[in-house]
């Protein structure tokens, strides 16, 4: 309750002419889920805060899938608008806000890549793009990237290939079966085993939780 009052006050002061300080950092002490709750009350600052926390990761994911800056921006914008519209019915016990946001970004990007029929199967050429964001945000992302990439390297080649083509390539399980010349049932069980392994590796890693923003 206090939080809401505080934010309302912030919003009021933000609306006063002559005040152009980036105020969204005042929400920095709140959890993602609490910020989503503020988004649900149409608090625009809260949406800005979520973007500041997750926009960079969201854009990197969309860019990886779509391989096109303009389309990646579209996917990120649509995903954050979906957050804006849907925040009121977000219930934090079911999943973290970050995974919800990234799932929305992923679905948008995959929809677009399928529609565009982009050359999604070709080897991805890494473009390290410094972009604009704060160095501290980039640091937790870098840690997280190393952790997940290390986990992926511990999967078998086949499991890794299946996961990457599905998640980053936007291939459906049927397309994967056709493309890899494996039966659909095999693809399904590989996906299942790969995800279960990945979860196991990630949840037993010692540096768990260290990446979280707070």
């Amino acid at each position: 309750m206090q939080i809401v009052t505080r934010t309302t006050r912030l919003l009021a002061s933000a609306a006063r002419p002559g005040r152009a300080v980036p105020l969204s950092r005042d929400l920095a002490h709140l959890s993602d889920e609490a910020v989503v709750a503020l988004v649900a009350r149409s608090e625009e600052l809260a949406l800005a805060e979520l973007y500041d926390r997750h926009g960079r990761a969201a854009y990197a994911l969309a860019r990886r899938i779509l391989r096109d800056p303009g389309l990646a921006e579209d996917a990120v914008q649509e995903a954050f608008l979906a957050v804006w519209r849907g925040a009121a019915r977000f219930v934090p016990e079911r999943a973290g806000a970050a995974s919800w946001i990234m799932m929305l970004v992923h679905r948008r990007a995959v929809d677009l890549v399928r529609r565009e029929q982009r050359r999604r199967a070709e080897p991805y050429v890494e473009l390290e793009d410094p972009g604009s964001p704060s160095a501290e945000d980039a640091a937790w992302l870098r840690l997280e990237r190393e952790r997940v990439q290390a986990a992926l390297r511990r999967l078998s080649m086949e499991q890794r290939e299946t996961l990457e083509l599905a998640y980053f390539g936007g291939f459906t399980q049927q397309e994967l079966a056709d493309r890899l010349g494996r039966p659909l049932g095999t693809i399904k069980s590989q996906m299942f085993a790969a995800l279960a392994n990945l979860r196991e590796i990630l949840t037993t890693a010692p540096e768990e939780e260290s990446w979280k923003t707070s």
Binding site: A72, W84, A95, A166, K188
Partner: protein, 226 residues
């Protein structure tokens, strides 16, 4: 048997690797299957971590303002972040915001279904929403607070020429027409025009094109809201 087959789809769903048709069927199944929801929660968490494995890339600095502008346009009551900044930027996906208020939700995973329902892609399962399995066909009846309901049916033969499927809300021995559909594309999603309250039965019959005022036969699909 059907449940086992659908259960296998959990991993593909978590990865977004089902085609749209399968995705829709899976989501309606999720609504009535706690086992799949539990399985999915774990698998989807792992799938979500993949998002962080990608190379760094920074969005253009103006994307933030474009998103906030677009959000502000959807809810004009919002206090602007910076005064005097009202320039219209990108065109928006239309209409979704208003519909979201009455959205039928099946949970955080129901991404595809929300889209098809014209509601929203967001949302976790809010308490008062209920999903009831159908008898006679695969699918669910999803009932929101206040009795607003949507029927999701898959596997019906397309209605033959000159015929239509008609949905009914049956209560106290009286059947009220609740919507027509053709089932042309495998999975039909029908927003029922009548409210569905406790004790009501939703049924589907095959009728002549244009629909009729009273069902001419016993329903081929039913779902009872207890």
């Amino acid at each position: 048997m059907e449940d086992e087959l659908i259960h296998e789809q959990c991993a593909a769903y978590a990865l977004g690797a089902l085609d749209p048709e399968d995705e829709l069927v899976f989501e309606t199944h999720l609504a009535t299957c706690p086992r799949c929801r539990l399985e999915l929660a774990g698998l989807a968490q792992a799938a979500g971590m993949l998002a962080y494995a990608v190379p760094a890339a920074g969005p253009p600095p103006d994307l933030r303002a474009r998103i906030l502008d677009a959000a502000r346009r959807e809810r004009p009551n919002v206090v602007p972040l910076r005064p005097g900044r009202s320039r219209v930027t990108l065109a928006l996906a239309s209409g979704a915001a208003a519909a979201a208020c009455v959205a039928v939700g099946l949970g955080i995973w129901a991404v595809s279904l929300h889209e098809k329902l014209g509601a929203t892609t967001a949302a976790l399962h809010a308490g008062p929403l209920r999903a009831v399995r159908l008898h006679g066909a695969a699918g669910s009846l999803v009932v929101a607070r206040g009795g607003e309901a949507t029927l999701v049916v898959s596997g019906l033969e397309p209605a033959p020429a000159g015929k239509t499927y008609e949905a009914w809300v049956i209560r106290g021995g009286r059947a009220a027409p609740a919507g027509l559909f053709a089932a042309r594309h495998g999975t039909a999603i029908v927003h029922l025009t009548g409210r569905v309250r406790s004790g009501a039965v939703v049924g589907v019959t095959l009728e002549r094109a244009g629909g009729v005022a009273q069902p001419s036969a016993s329903p081929i699909v039913t779902s009872a809201l207890t």
